[in-house]
Amino acid sequence: MTGDITRPRTPGADLPDHPDFLWRNPEPKKSYDVVIVGGGGHGLATAHYLAKNHGITNVAVLEKGWLAGGNMARNTTIIRSNYLWDESSAIYEHSLKLWEGLEEDLGYPILFSQRGVLNLAHTLQDVRDSIRRVEANKLNGVDAEWVEPDEVRKICPIVNTSADIRYPVMGATYQPRAGIAKHDYVAWGFARRADEAGIDLIQDCEVTGFTTDGNRVTGVQTSRGTIAAGTVALCAAGHTSVLTDMLGFRVPVQSHPLQALVSELLEPVHPTVVMSNAVHVYVSQAHKGELVMGAGVDSYNGYGQRGAFHIIERQMAAAVELFPVFARAHLLRTWGGIVDTSPDASPIVGRTPYDNVYLNCGWGTGGFKATPGIGDAMAHTIAHGEPHPYVAPFALDRFVSGALVDEHGAAAVAH
């Protein structure tokens, strides 16, 4: 016998090796054809489709923190396309179709689960608006149906459909192809593919300024030096105004904290996704078993990635009213992101006062579902120097022309 058994072991020596990294961590080059500011879902998806659809790979994604550590890591992952207006349902439905093939495209599991979404109606006005939206959806080829309370109960037995609650369930819209996905895996899948194509994903690299020449941006100043850029795409979500302030133009967005939370792990009890505008909560159950619930925005502007506790309390009251069975569940964790809300609750995408700078913001509380769709449309816009038809209606100049795409309320809870 040797003395090996008693020799103290280095902590961690028995752990398995670190798994392979999914992407390189390159040093920034001096210059790129395309610089994408923001390594959230939208920036990473844009990078992927630039390489895949247009063969453009001399591209950098600059991320001030770690990859997909912003809203991409913090959202409640609801995916649906049942928006009211033609312009919205076109881009969200395009995105949903891409979600349906995304796992194959990325060669990476993303746990996309088309478990359907119920948008509950609690008042007569809700009912009328919902049926109108269902009819509009059908005309746009979006799977949508109106379901009565007894069908709501069949789809999701734990919803309280009794008549004696403060806001009785008077029916719901149902989109069977809607669902959820695992947000981190989605980001990693896009990142891995973009990296394989030769695109540089540069973390810990904050854009702090721009160098300009007339109507063109020639480069970005970053915490890791100045980088020359042929084209710049802004995909910074809640921080968009900080960047456009540097560039000297305004966008009509306001940044708000938006919070969500999870319960402890539970047995499967919730088979679908339920959203309620009137009592304001939206709930699904993650694959692992946590109940995932989202709140409304905190009213004030905020960049702090945290919000007030009374917002969480209000949301829990709504959840327990709708799902009495949740009363015994424990809250495990709450967190906040920073969402960029726009005046008409629709995104702002496309041209800017600079010829070679493209904007993608204003997705507010609901841009996760758009990730593949907007990545595809932004890549097209950058490659052709011309807004993709799906994003053309969402141009910044609609606030001057008045051609708003008002999705407030009309599209149920805005997530």
Binding site: S241, S299, Y300, G304, F399
Partner: protein, 92 residues
């Protein structure tokens, strides 16, 4: 819960207050003279700084009066509160 100082009532809990967005956005002096672009900026555009922001609050569940505050949007710290007719403080 954060305490907010109403300039008339003193510190009260955040739930008593209603947010009013950017302060000191005056109605155009000569509305008919504005072009579409200027109207868009008046109606839809508000500043959105990360850091100090002069903004409007109303003590909705208290005295129901409006006031202004300078608050840091990154830390949420209120730096000062003042009456609506007072000029906008110099924000460095």
């Amino acid at each position: 819960m954060q305490l907010i100082e109403c300039p008339w009532c003193g510190p009260r809990e955040e739930v008593e207050f209603h947010y009013g967005g950017q302060a000191h956005v005056a109605y155009p002096e000569d509305p008919a003279a504005l072009d579409d672009e200027q109207w868009a900026h008046y109606v839809f555009y508000r500043d959105n700084p990360k850091g100090r922001f002069a903004e409007r609050w109303s003590h909705a569940a208290g005295c129901r009066r409006w006031f202004n505050a300078v608050r840091d949007t990154a830390t949420y710290r209120f730096e000062s509160v003042y009456h609506p007719d007072q000029p906008k403080p110099v924000i460095p």
